[in-house]
Amino acid sequence: MKTYDAIVVGAGHNGLTTAAFLARAGLDVVCVEKNDYIGGAAVSRQLYKDWWYSNCSYVCSLLRPEIYRALELHRHGLQVTPYGGSLTFMQNGDYFGSYHDHEVAYREMARFSRRDADAYKTYSADTMRQCRFIRDFLLRTAPDPASFKPKDLRGLMDIGRRFLEMGEDRMYETIRFWTMSVAEYLDEYFETDVIKAAMSGSGIIGTALGIHSPGTAYVLLHHKMGDVDGNVGTWGFARGGMGAVSKSIAGAFQAAGGELRTEAGCDKIIVKNGKVTGVGLENGEEIRARVVVSAMDVKRTFLNCMDRSDLPEKFYRRVENFKIRGSSGKLNIALDGLPTFPAIPKGSTLLHSDMHFIDSMERMERAYDDWKAGTWSKDPYVDMLIPTLNDPTMAPPGKHFMSCFVQYCPHKLEGRDWTEEDKQAFANTVIDQIANYSPDFKDLILHMEVRTPADIEAEIGITEGNIFHGELTMDQLLFNRPVPGYAQYRSPVAGLYLCGSSTHPGGGVMAAPGANAAREILLDLKRPNTVPDNFGDD
């Protein structure tokens, strides 16, 4: 029986990234995927006629440019194009837009408050300072504060040095920032409700927290620290949908000699004498390897695919306690034409932006209240985009694909499973909200895919359908992600590694966990490193 150098479990963007870098180091790597398609949550699926849906993740900014370049993803078909600003519809018929052009953005804010418009540059600088701090650590393994290895000490000293460099005042600000709520953070700069509401969305996307929950300011950062071609904070579309990201990484993997197997779900990670020996597939087949890398989330890896007896008790309990709560759903809609939004001026770039329907902080928090009560938000925070305005490849000419990310949406409804009727009611909530601002929207719907966290879990495999593989709060970041002492992609079992978004630096189509994991594995195997260094902002 053949023994591979490494098996990567899960062909999402992180799994493929690890696989590609390992293969490039000359290892014999196989990547196994339970579905009959690759991509995990970075996927384009043809679910209706000639429409391609980015049916999980839908926009791209966090994907590390270092990885993009090192794996030559452009040669494997990836193209990321930036899209225009964002827009919030208001209940009074007005809207608040944000534009790429600084002056136009300024005027728009000044339409509501001159003070807020002036405060924006300070808000921006303060937020960018935090971004710069964290961006440097994305393509690095988080140093362990309890370790006395030279590598960890160097890493800690580096964090300490960069922290001290900020100066007294900004050090205080930084500590506050990491623990405060997005609402408190925005309150320090802005007075206009709609402006705060528009900006607060980034603090809760994918997170089972409300805008007033501590820690959500960091989540805001997680949505601001990406870039498209160096424009930090800008978001873009992958041409052909998010599947193009996974496909291109798979292309790089296969070009390096890697083997990809679909419909090969992992049933069990096999451990003998405290050392991993391979993977048992759902079809009964066994694949052997010296190294197994799980791109699955930490709970699925250790709670579903391993024997409890193979793991330390405390570690097991920590994995059980890892917060990975389903909080968002998705509607993917094929449209017969472009819906009209009377509030948006004709010819405005705002139509190309991400659109939202919640215009106050009160409504943002109320949306969370519904989730806490165990149901979906009756007035949800929707992040809606029409990528086909930019991308001619995702729908027939004149037709459109609309992606609606919906927050909040629980994994279980008041403790019970979702029924078809529940799903329809959930979908109707969203459709009605959009239809309030677009009279012809309902008539244009040709097909719709409704995805609750439970659906995402069933299909993609992410526990509770949490898009980040675990919440991005301070207790689950850096050396705490996913479990203290095991935050460097290694596990208590020799030869078993993690490379998914449950690891540092967390979720989003970033590919950084995958790359960082590959670097650590190559280090352990004493192979030359193939993973690129951070470009650096300075």
């Binding site: 534009y99 052009d101 136009v104 005027r107 339409r111 408050s113 003070r115 300070t122 921006s124």
Partner: protein, 427 residues
Amino acid sequence: MTDKDKVPSGRDEVPLARDKVPLARDKVPLARDKVPQGRLQTPFYPKLKRVDTLDKWHEWKGYTAADALYCEDMEYFAIRNATAVFDLTPMTKYRITGPDACDYLDRLVTRDMHKVAPGRVAYAVWCDDQGQVIDDGTIFHLRDGEYRLCSQERHLAWLEASAIGFDVTIRHETEEVAALAVQGPTSFSVLDKLGLDGLGDLKPFGLTHFDFEGAELMISRTGFTGDLGYELWIEPAKAEALWDALFEAGKLHGIRAIGTNALEMARIEAGFMAAYHEFLPADETVRTGRSRSPLELGLDWLVDFKKPNFNGRRALAEERRRGSAWRLVKLDIEGNKPAHNAYIFAKPKNNKSEIGFITSAHWSPVCKQNIALGTVRMPHGKPGDTVWVEIYYQREMHWNRMMAAAKVVDKPFWFPKRRSATPPGPY
């Protein structure tokens, strides 16, 4: 307190002489967003457009502003040789009123505002709590208790935050005031011809009010050129009439409209600092150490430690005790190659001795000197010191490099007697 008025588009509020000047943007389909998508136009735009032959414009705080109108060099010499007219409408302006206006400003800026009487103008700088410069600008004491603050950047958020506890009203009034700088040796003669009685008695940093066609015309003896000159402030509706009257009066005095590039040359000769060149507004800096304190900018004379508390006082007192990290220097550089973007060294042959960099530079036609402003680490750059500037320049594709000796000078490069003579001469 907040001015929640919608931002007026220059287009809607300012009558444009459409029949005379075809505007390029008239041919473009209208952007229908609620805010204008293109640059705004000042009330003087039709006038500038008429004398413009180069079509070189840039954005200045949302407005379109000319780089140059017909010839950069001739525009520069209008400042130093005759009268130059510069549209400074886009400059940020605030009206500050209320019983506590003086106390408020005194708390805001580093200098003693109680010494600034009505009818006087004060150059001022204001800091954050770390004593780092947010901006500099001029404060016009228009009437008793009524002030106009002109700044390089927009600061309503900061101004309002600093106003807590004071009975003041702060209103952004950039769009409500049209303003022209009238600068140069013959500028007094030009204005005198407008029949402005008593203007001759106006001292530098003084201001006075006149009637112009039923509107109030405020004239201050201020400017950004370091020469004899005035700034004229009027309601936008009278802007074009004022322009016409001015150019009629200046016909025989060499009056010319100028763009920003010429003014920039004069600004460096006068040794004035500009935001984003000599300093970065502290509230916009991301990296630590990229902002500057007034002491580091050579503005010690503007910081009054004898007055009560003001923003940044404690940090500045501490800095004065411990010493500053940086010094802004004026450099007289040998040779004639402008030292754009150059590094400054302590020694000519030691690349490790880098002590700072040039922030603004050009060849001064009026001083016949190769001048620059730069920022160097303390204790380097004392007046009289010699430092070395590494200049790169290109000649027919090839790059050359030279180390030029530069003398640190104390006084502005250009400071003619006429700048402060009262009454000014006729020239």
